[in-house]
Symmetry: C2
Subunit: 360 residues, 2 copies
Amino acid sequence: MIYLDHAATTPPSKAAKAAALRSFNMFGNPSSLHVLGIEAEKEIAHARDVLARIIGASPPRLIFASGGTEANNLALKGTARKHKGRRIITTRMEHSSILETLAVMADFEPLYLDTDEGGAICLDALQKALEEPTCLVSIHHVNSATGVIQDIHAIGNIIKRVSPTTLFHVDAAQSFCKLPIHVNNMQVDLLTASAHKVGGLKGCGFLFIRDGVHCAPTTQGGGQERGLRSGTENVAGILSFAAAAESFMPITAPLKQVFLDALNLDDVKVLGKNTSPYILNIDVAGVNPEVLLNALSQRGVCVSAGAACSANKKGQGQIGWGQAPTLRVSFGEGNTVDEVVKAAELLTEIATNLRKLRKL
Amino acid sequence: MIYLDHAATTPPSKAAKAAALRSFNMFGNPSSLHVLGIEAEKEIAHARDVLARIIGASPPRLIFASGGTEANNLALKGTARKHKGRRIITTRMEHSSILETLAVMADFEPLYLDTDEGGAICLDALQKALEEPTCLVSIHHVNSATGVIQDIHAIGNIIKRVSPTTLFHVDAAQSFCKLPIHVNNMQVDLLTASAHKVGGLKGCGFLFIRDGVHCAPTTQGGGQERGLRSGTENVAGILSFAAAAESFMPITAPLKQVFLDALNLDDVKVLGKNTSPYILNIDVAGVNPEVLLNALSQRGVCVSAGAACSANKKGQGQIGWGQAPTLRVSFGEGNTVDEVVKAAELLTEIATNLRKLRKL
């Protein structure tokens, strides 16, 4: 099996698995007053420290949730009502947990920024849009479909210069641990990260909420996570998230270029400019990407068509900026140059055959 | 260590740990179209079958969530607005995820039923309360603090006879796998269960939603769980929940009686009548239960004062019906008669010494 779908989810790392196993023996409810409860609470505090350090945040500002989707819901629903302005500035390329959340926030007016040919949002348009009272700007750091990196530093600068009270939320699900993030330098008020994109387990994520940002909980109950996210803490998920993040090994080989060099096909277009080293999105002319995906899967290669964060097995989310679906190849820890070459050769063979069939 | 706090959380069972480990190799995103994604999706479908069978439900009616708290939030917020009547009938002894959720549902009028001396809700009062248009009745099956069992069958009968359109929600966090549940026989429309109360992992639970019940999602995103609960599925949590439930071993020894028989103290009152075999709640006159809890913890015995589902380490939730805090001793798989006797003897020793100190 050659797994090249790390943007959808990553295999749990060794460190994450070890932390999960360790948590099974530390099974107290972190809210319990006895020694087992206190032990679990301390371990969670340590995990919070580890994760906060990676984004330059103060640990108490990290709220653990059940994943990036819940964190994005909390970021938008929890804060918008508490801040001035009905406008929310975003893009049409956000994750469905942003777009669908905005769709139910009837009191607010989303404004979707355009992007240039390379996929970067238009900073002039952002500046102009901020002239209307805006409670929140929500922009992803790395696009899950194309890998295009948004200039969070520049965006943060513009927001805080033009409209200092406007909150800045960044969905960093595809960049956490992979690109440098510093919430102060980038002037980010809210930031979402997901465990299972960096070698942690599915079912865990966090929302960073800057000190002083008013946020209302979206889930009511026992008052865990400083009252912002009730529910007994997912101890295994949290500890393995921190372990995975702490031991995260960035890919160093230029796997995207290796893949493209080994691809022996005409009419292949690489989508996006200034993209993450972890995500490659290609349009193979004349071939349906879902057919390619299935054929590759049968040969033991896992890739994606678009972003695999939608349950409905059709479409799988927005590909980027209005194009037809394309093929996403995404890399991660453990991928070798050899298997990447092998995958590109298989894709070459399959696509060549499909094109031949088409011409018959 | 003698762990007698199973109502707060249980150690993961062998089967749950094995299922979690297995899930680490089956790491595809269930929404992915390739072989690893399809494999994960099939495993989730199997887990849903296993869990649904335990409550006599049709598998598609189970919605996985991040735990009992989220399931309770969804049960109330998701359905109330979609059904006739502004009244919600409940008790003051519900879990904080019910009480705090009702507190933010400003458009609704909660009506809290009284209970008798034994802790059972007054069925006549329920019948009378249903004369006003009522969208929802939410009653727990087993009280987490006292273990008192509510007669869900009788309650369901009354609701559906007096007001057939009123929804009936049951928080079964403390009874799932432990007491017989059949959602059809009991005329239950919505039912909450939590994995970590039956040997599963923290961070997973489900809400049963009867076919035909209108429910709106509380989390927006990729449309997982039939659109009712978006977010990449917690595969390890779900598979280990099903494995734990399937292999759940009910306690057969009369551990509560063993504990009480070994307790050599005057002025001990057992709270509640008709209680679960898993939960014992006692009032040891003249001794602060939190002092007892700490002293027992230092001697290696884990118990609780009230219900340990509140993050704030003070108070830990409502104990039942207006009494001062008391000591909760809760049993589970693996507890032996010997360790239960040992715990009772230690409690006897500690309480006797504390009472002596008080008299000095």
